[in-house]
């Protein structure tokens, strides 16, 4: 069988039904095999979007996202998407075409060393040199992408190899001697955690993206209900616990809440689960009491001890370890501690510039109107925190954004991927005028796919977050942040055949959202926001 046909057949074996890609000279054989297969190929408008779409698809379906691109510029265009997926641990398998094996290293047309270029920010990569190895490599790629700490895996496939005849034998099992992720937590360590928590006066759980990715929200809930221990979360941990759970003490970090950060600072024992303790979340190490006991649970051993040393480290899967903890833990008396945290909640009155729409209000209205299964993709910048702080987590709602890498232009392709993977769900992409212009060409993909996400654009005529920093910092002056000659975005959306509307009066918010959400077609809503609107 021709290798490219084997590829398609193996993808079907892996239960892949959708691939995001962009063709080119070095993947012609693959495209010919795709043409005659049952796989749905989503033609994006630029390769970076293929990875973001695959990421949105993976995060909202629990399946692996698959991307295909050609050699050279096709491959290098993927790079930002790969780095984005790597930082947020998203399982993606990427197939790139490569020039003929015999020509590698000669700088021929559209040749680039993509395995070398992506090496610092990819979980693993392969350059296929021997066609017979390919089925094993593909099997390994899916296994590595999805197990342990998930991440992107790339397979670089030379053109001549794609055409080779090989036997179709797809291995059933994977055995890689250098790759054995630890799933079960060490029982002794789990017992120690329980003892430590039960003897703590101000215990706190801090959940990160690992709990969301590890599908451990239910196990977290059981543990919390049984132990009575309050919870804070990181940006990526959003979604692990309903917003209005009595135990949810909110988001920590630079853009988090005062009472959440206060809780982190005053806890005597902090149980980090699937959180990297990253700079944006913990800002600096002074944020927690230096005498506090640090328990760190992560599936990636390298995350433990990277930033701070842990009193009790445990390597393993959040789901399995939380189950273990729940089975042993007794109720901890945290009533006073929780009341204390609650008392630090500052109900800040929202000051917001007149004569413009309050974006936070838009998100809250949207949150009221969306159903419990909705998927919301935020971009990067002010719109990200307007969304993450005001969209309520309930039911099986999912909020996604580019957390670790902070990649502008993520939201629209991610929402497209999510829509394709969840045809029956409400999907919303929230963007700013800066981030929209990094991916606006993806409106083409959206329309061609016949999907119906709602796009919400907060237009504040500039790069709001950077502008805010420049204005607030006495040493800086505003520069290079104005998007003063923005086009008529609704006209662009309409040119793509998408119904579009501009709203500059707050009274119109509800009606506009209602119309958009009940239209059952793609909809573009632009809200005119003041340039003085703050992030928090």
């Amino acid at each position: 069988m021709k290798l490219s046909d084997v590829l398609v057949r193996c993808l079907c074996e892996e239960k892949v039904d959708t691939v995001f890609g962009y063709p080119g000279a070095a993947v012609l054989a693959v495209y010919e095999s795709l043409r005659t297969s049952s796989l749905h190929h989503v033609l994006v408008r630029q390769e970076q979007a293929a990875v973001h779409s695959a990421s949105g698809y993976a995060r909202t379906t629990g399946k692996v996202g698959v991307c295909i691109a050609t050699s050279g510029p096709g491959a290098t265009n993927l790079i930002t998407g790969i780095a984005t997926a790597y930082m947020d641990s998203i399982p993606i398998v990427i197939i790139t075409g490569q020039v003929k094996l015999s020509l590698i290293g000669r700088d021929v047309f559209q040749e680039v060393d993509i395995t070398g270029a992506t090496e610092p920010f990819i979980k693993h990569s392969y350059l296929v040199k021997n066609a017979q190895d390919f089925p094993k490599i593909l099997k390994e790629a899916f296994y590595i992408a999805t197990t342990g700490r998930p991440g992107p895996v790339l397979i670089d496939l030379p053109m001549d190899i794609q055409e080779e005849q090989i036997d179709y034998i797809y291995p059933k099992e994977v055995k890689i001697r250098g790759y054995k992720p630890t799933i079960e937590g060490h029982v002794g360590q789990i017992k120690k955690i329980v003892k430590l928590l039960e003897h703590s006066k101000r215990p706190l759980v801090c959940v990160g993206g690992g709990v969301v990715l590890g599908n451990a929200a239910d196990e977290l809930k059981e543990f919390i209900y049984k132990s009575d221990i309050p919870v804070v979360h990181t940006l990526m941990g959003t979604g692990a616990l309903p917003t209005f759970s009595e135990y949810n003490c909110g988001m920590i970090g630079l853009h988090g809440y005062v009472h959440s950060n206060w809780a982190l600072k005053h806890a005597d024992t902090i149980l980090f689960i699937g959180a990297r303790i990253a700079d944006r979340a913990v800002a600096n190490l002074g944020i927690f009491d230096e005498n506090a006991n640090i328990i760190h649970i992560d599936i990636d051993p390298a995350e433990i001890g990277k930033i701070t040393s842990a009193t009790i480290p445990v390597v393993g899967d959040a789901k399995s370890i939380l189950k273990g903890l729940t089975s042993l833990i007794r109720k901890v008396d945290t009533l006073n501690w929780r009341e204390e945290i609650e008392s630090k909640k500052k109900i800040k009155e929202e000051v917001h510039p007149k004569d413009a729409v309050n974006p936070k209000l838009v998100v809250r209205k949207l949150s009221e109107m969306l159903n419990d299964q909705a998927i919301v993709a935020a971009d990067v910048g002010q719109n990200q925190f307007w969304t993450m702080r005001n969209m309520e987590i309930k039911g099986s709602r999912k909020l996604i954004c580019s957390g670790g890498f902070g990649t502008m232009g993520y939201s629209l392709p991610a929402a497209i991927g999510a829509s394709i993977g969840n045809k029956d769900k409400q999907v919303v992409s929230i963007l700013g005028d800066g981030s929209f212009q990094m991916s606006l060409f993806e409106l083409g993909t959206l329309v061609q796919e016949g999907i119906n996400p709602l796009i919400i654009l907060f237009n504040n005529s500039g790069l709001g977050m950077v502008r805010e920093i420049q204005r607030r910092n006495g040493d800086l002056k505003e520069h290079g942040v104005a998007l003063s000659k923005n086009p008529d975005f609704t006209a662009i959306a309409r040119a793509y055949g998408i119904t579009a509307k501009t709203i500059s009066d707050e009274k119109e918010i509800e009606a506009a959202l209602d119309e958009a959400l009940t239209s059952h077609k793609p909809y573009f809503l632009e809200f005119i926001v003041s340039d003085k609107e703050s992030t928090l």
Binding site: T115, G116, E119, P120, K123, H124, L127, I144, I176, R177, G178, Y179, D300, P301, A302, G305, K306, S309
Partner: protein
């Protein structure tokens, strides 16, 4: 900071060396030397990495290396339980007058003369780093033209084996 000797079993295929050296440079770990060669199992290579690191950095180096799919196993080889060796080739100015003296020094260090010409000698020496350094400093006054050192390679003493 202390020097640590890591013995690392890796898959023997292209690209592995670049993954490992890339890891050290992008995470800012100091690497003193790295030597690599095939093992008794031709699908496995063994690297000896000498790293300059404090304890917590060393821990991270091991964990980050372990994260690479191509890395099979890592052990730290401590000086008292392992044999450290390095090979050096030294090209030195030597004429009729100095040749005998230089050969005598080489003999003391159990080094070999592997090449001789009218005006030079090449000495091959093996030993731990201290010995090589002592030899080269003894040879310096005669005029060292070139030195090449392989970097450290090491093996555990006794019956213990590093197997995949």
């Amino acid at each position: 900071m202390k020097k640590h000797v890591l013995s690392v079993l890796v898959e023997n295929h292209s690209g592995v060396l670049s993954r490992i050296s890339g890891l050290f440079s992008r995470r800012g770990y100091n690497i003193d030397s790295l030597s690599v060669g095939e093992t008794e199992d031709p699908t496995v290579s063994r690297m000896t990495i000498v790293a300059d690191a404090d304890e917590s950095t060393l821990e991270q180096i091991k964990k980050q290396l372990n994260k690479l799919v191509d890395v099979i196993k890592i052990i730290e080889l401590k000086e008292d339980t392992a044999i450290y060796r390095e090979l050096a080739l030294v090209k030195i100015t030597a004429d009729k007058k100095t040749r005998a003296e230089i050969i005598e020094i080489a003999n003391i260090f159990r080094a070999h003369i592997v090449d001789v010409s009218k005006d030079s000698l090449v000495i091959e020496a093996t030993g731990d780093q201290g010995k090589i350094t002592a030899l080269t400093s003894m040879l310096e006054p005669y005029g060292v033209k070139e030195i090449i050192r392989t970097g450290l390679t090491a093996l555990q003493r006794g019956e213990k084996e590093l197997k995949n």
